[in-house]
Symmetry: C2
Subunit: 68 residues, 2 copies
Amino acid sequence: MKDLAKKLGANIRVKRKEVGLAQDKLAELADMDRSYIGRIERGEMNITVEKLYSLAIVLKCKPKDLLP
Amino acid sequence: MKDLAKKLGANIRVKRKEVGLAQDKLAELADMDRSYIGRIERGEMNITVEKLYSLAIVLKCKPKDLLP
């Protein structure tokens, strides 16, 4: 499952860059700490489905589009 | 987001019944506590993406198919 977190984090990073957001802006808009976003993108966090939805809203995509 | 947990739980319950599994069997196969499965299905839990994947494996579906 470690692999899952890494792939999910990578997907979030790719989508974040696609929509032109810096980590701190994504963190602000998703109401999360910037360092938390960094850890998510590095695959260090096992996020909840709720956080997945919060990120997808800011990244203007469907939550399932972020899933590996 | 409360609504998210309720819808996700309902989807998991529908899929569980579709594949003919009782809660305790799903719990056993997904390596979770039976009462935890009950709380997930009632929308009382904000599960992790990792747990979503574990459940999808047992329910023989794609994780995204369980997402509302």
